[in-house]
């Protein structure tokens, strides 16, 4: 992993088109601003991982049985 030390207000440029700026540094958290072209999606990692897990679980999901459907519709 490439590691940089940055101060508040300083930034990094990735692949000429993504700019990552340190907006503020607090105790235990850092506020980061990202400027990127629209086609680059940026997500909080834990949110993205949670969605990945849900999709994988959904792909393994049971086929809904008649009693469940009845309960849902009833």
């Amino acid at each position: 992993m490439l590691v940089f030390t940055r101060k508040k207000g300083e930034s990094l440029v990735i692949a000429n088109e993504i700019e990552v700026t340190i907006l503020s540094v607090g105790s235990g958290n850092v506020k980061v601003g990202i400027t990127a072209p629209r086609h680059i999606s940026v997500h909080r990692n834990e949110v993205f991982e949670a969605i990945k897990r849900e999709n994988m679980a959904a792909a393994q999901s049971q086929i809904p049985k008649a009693d469940l459907l009845k309960k849902l519709l009833g």
Binding site: R38, N55, A58, A59, Q62, I63, D67
Partner: protein
């Protein structure tokens, strides 16, 4: 017609004009770019979002408004652009559902709905970061208050 081998439903035929293009795949399955929705009369209100690429998975999906009648969100400009739409009228919305071994614990992912441009036949799974919706919203109404507490 596309001839597809599926895990859950055996061999199926999908008309070419039913193929949905997911440019980015979906989280967890970025390699799947083509899906189709499958309807089974005896599985209503559920449908399946069947992958037409490998692996041949199928995601159980449901109309999110069926689960939460007040469900609403705004598509970002870039999400609209990704599915080549300018108007919500062309957009169908589905939530991915998970039924574990104990069906009482079934959940739906309201934070990351599947949006499909029904005219252009393309879609994506969007992430509603600041919406407060849960990735594990309980399917059954009895546990709705719990669902509310889970919102962040």
């Amino acid at each position: 017609m596309m001839h597809i081998h599926t895990v859950n439903f055996g061999e199926i035929e999908v008309p070419v004009d039913k193929v949905l293009d997911f440019k980015e795949g979906v989280p967890g399955f970025p390699q799947i770019h083509r899906f189709a929705t499958l309807d089974f009369e005896d599985l209503k209100p559920f449908q399946y979002l069947q992958a037409l690429d490998e692996p041949p998975i199928a995601l159980l999906i449901v109309n999110p408004f069926f689960v939460d009648p007040d469900y609403k969100f705004q598509l970002s400009a870039s999400d609209m652009e990704d599915i080549q739409t300018t108007t919500p009228e062309d957009v169908a919305v589905y939530a991915v559902a998970t039924i574990p071994e104990d069906p009482e614990q079934a959940t739906v992912n309201l934070m990351a709905p599947i949006v499909i441009n029904v005219k252009k036949r393309c879609g994506k799974q969007v992430i509603l970061h600041e919406s407060g919706y849960s990735v594990k919203h309980p399917l059954f109404k009895a546990s709705k208050s719990e669902a509310h507490n889970e919102r962040r």
